[in-house]
Symmetry: C2
Amino acid sequence: MKLYSGDLSPYSAKVRMQIYAKGISDIEIELPPGFMTGEFHKTSPLARIPVLDLGGDLIPESEVISEYLEEVYPQVRLLGATARETATIRTVSRIADIYLLNNMFMVLGQARASTRNQGIVDLLTGQVIRGLKALEHYIGEDGFAVCGRLTLADCTLVPALFLIENVIDTVGVANPIPDTPKVAAYWAAIQKNEHAAATLVELYRGLAERRELIAKMAAKEKAKAAAAAAEA
Amino acid sequence: MKLYSGDLSPYSAKVRMQIYAKGISDIEIELPPGFMTGEFHKTSPLARIPVLDLGGDLIPESEVISEYLEEVYPQVRLLGATARETATIRTVSRIADIYLLNNMFMVLGQARASTRNQGIVDLLTGQVIRGLKALEHYIGEDGFAVCGRLTLADCTLVPALFLIENVIDTVGVANPIPDTPKVAAYWAAIQKNEHAAATLVELYRGLAERRELIAKMAAKEKAKAAAAAAEA
């Protein structure tokens, strides 16, 4: 079994944190072939990572992969002991997935100020803030999202809160996490969990790489503009 | 057990179709108290329907409710016989949920042409069309979404395709379903399924009520404007 994954992909990070927390050691984790060249969409129609590769048979979508791994690797269960507990875990995981991650992911297309559509930024970051407020109602106060232990809800929340804290300012919006004190306290506490910490190292590494790439491209464009100006 | 639901709410329709298909008869289905006045958010922080009420203990989010009902009502299973089959069902249900329904739901805020943000319309309907193309790859050709029988994937797809077909033109975009022939054939076939048909009757009833309300409000505004003009 192989997980196609990328350091900075928050959806991939969610499944990696689950794999670490479950102690699964027989899943290879790698970048998919053809991901950077756009060839990957021929393999997986949604063209997104993560994808779980069962020897050529592919499962897309982090939430689907996570639930599949819970079924085939029952050890260290990250869902509930009862149907009601599982519903609580899935509610918080879904708030993180749909209201936080999905809207953060879509709003990043508005990072460039010169072409930014403020209506898109307002709509999507408004949904993020709405999601944080709902999360404030559900979040645990003992260092875990819910149920007093590490669950799938933590695996989705860690990359979601990472993305909000580190990236929302690129669309001109201040980090809203401090406005939800219970979420902020949870966020400070969960970063000390070993599986969260391992996942965050990869996310920060991916972010540093992305920023280096953006700086390089900006320097190249600047040099090109300077050369064109000198020629004129 | 009680399901807070509304005729036109596509997420509620998904759970209703599941309840009909499973033959569950002991869940009351009704509009939540305070939904129209905004009081409902005090009861459920996400302020959305459906919500499953277990005697005062509330489960929000259609996907979470559907999975809960699969666990507590195992008869007429709408998930898979194996973990892999369940992953296939959840993949298609998720495409319908995230890429189709969620984006359709958000874009409806742009229905009024005079205040429309075209960038929002392009972004969100672009995601809908992208989702339909991915769905074209996964959809079954025997009248069911996947697995050759009615599953949770059908329960999510029916309200999603209803919404696209009947409502996407209100934001100035033509119905894209005919551009994906396998999805179009599925859509024609599934409407003849008795549980889909029962759910569609409610969705169309809700749509007719909504249109009547909008027409009434428009007439009222027109009369007000005419009165103001006569006075001036």
